[in-house]
């Protein structure tokens, strides 16, 4: 388990950073992901997929739980009108990214960013990516194509500006 954690830690973190657009939150979720992996280690079956894909699925599940609790928290705060007290973090996807690319990524939806992270950054194949996302391969390809087109358009527009 320790060897797998050492090997895939950066992949899990990168995926979560792209998904959440929040480096601090991504780090917390990364720890949560490996906590889950330790608990569910007996369920891991190498014949059904690689450890990296399995960890990405767990990371996605952890992020989804966080998004749900966050949505509940926001609804609660809306009910008690404390919106103005919320702390808003600027999106950050990694050190050294050009401002155009950073802005373009920030404009993408979570679903679009995660498919970019899995296919482009982590270089997973289409089948594994579709499995992690829980969608069909064609839907995965469509989503990736749309995300890249959108990102390319925004990067070009920022460069021109």
């Amino acid at each position: 388990m320790a060897a797998i954690a050492e090997q895939h830690l950066d992949d899990v973190l990168a995926y979560l950073v792209y998904l959440t657009a929040d480096h601090t939150l991504a780090e917390d979720l990364t720890v949560d992901t490996f906590e889950r992996a330790l608990r569910r280690w007996r369920r891991f079956d190498p014949r059904r997929g690689s450890a990296r894909a399995w960890l990405c699925q767990l990371a996605r599940s952890a992020a989804l739980d966080h998004f749900r609790s966050e949505a509940r928290r926001l609804r609660r705060e809306d009910r008690y009108a404390v919106r103005e007290l919320r702390e808003v973090h600027p999106p950050s996807f990694g050190e050294g990214l050009s401002p155009e690319l950073e802005h373009g990524l920030a404009e993408l939806s979570r679903a679009e960013r995660e498919v970019v992270a899995l296919r482009v950054v982590l270089e997973l194949d289409g089948e594994t990516t579709a499995k992690v996302l829980g969608i069909s391969q064609s839907a995965c390809s469509t989503r990736l194509s749309r995300a890249l087109q959108k990102l390319e358009g925004m990067v070009s527009a920022d460069a021109v500006a």
Binding site: A5, A14, L38, S109, V116
Partner: protein, 335 residues
Amino acid sequence: MLSPEVVAELRVTRPVASPDLRERVLEVAARERPAREPHFSLPQWRRLAFVAVPVAVSVAVGGALIHGLASSGTNGQKAAPAPTLAGSNGTAVGAIRAPKVPRALQLDKQPYSAVAPSSTRLQQYGAFLSLQVKDLGALSDATKRAMRFARDVGGYVAYVRYSSPNRGQGSASLIVRVPVDRVQDVIEEYSNLGTILSQKINIVDVTKAVEEQAREIARLKAKIAKIEAGGVTVQERYRLAELQARLDYLTKHRAATVRRAQFARVALELATKPKHRTAASTGRFDRTMSDAGGVLLREAEILLYALIVAGPLLLLGGAIIAAGRFRDRRLFERT
């Protein structure tokens, strides 16, 4: 598609775990793994369904086939209850009713034991037999054989009716009178003519009645003799004629009673197998399939009932799951 420069930039600048995060994660990974899952869960439920559904279907079909095989029997006949004794049926001595007789009695050629008449007392013996024969040919043969045997034992045929109104279907009714000391032979012979559907035996003891009649006849004869010995006056002529008439009646009545006690009355009903029974007694495979189909139908009824009961709950569960997925999708559509 993205330009290669952008792709390269994304890959080069990918986030890397800080030493602090690496330490935290490795600390987690170094912990001892729990021996068991802390919570119950359904792992790989799809795989489970792939096994559970065929197993459930196999059990349902297998159970139906086993039930069909078990209930179809080996010779197409289901076991019939043994003959039972019924209570008195308004007769002086009693009545024995045998509604159904196992076919094994016929197949093994074992004689059917009827109640024997008494050799020391006068009894009016009546027997009724209802038999089923295979077809019209067997019906004709059985009718002729029954009539011939009645004559062979010194009896006679009092009534016969033979009819075959439908094609392949027919029936015959016979009433024979046979010497009472041969009635057991007759019943045994008749029981071999086909499958016994029902049997009834009536015995009425008339010894006392005949003895009463004999005493009454003796008294009448004594009175008549006394009147004739003293000379018959005009007034006594009418009285004598009355006594003579009463004597004649009693004598004939007694003779008839004795004659009836000497000859037993045997009624025989013969009928061919009904058409629906012929259709039912098909091969064992057909019966097995029919029984298995019945069981499967029953199982389908139970399943349908369960679905009707659980349907609203399943729909509610499905709606909740769909709503959850829709909500999760919306969470991922946010920037």
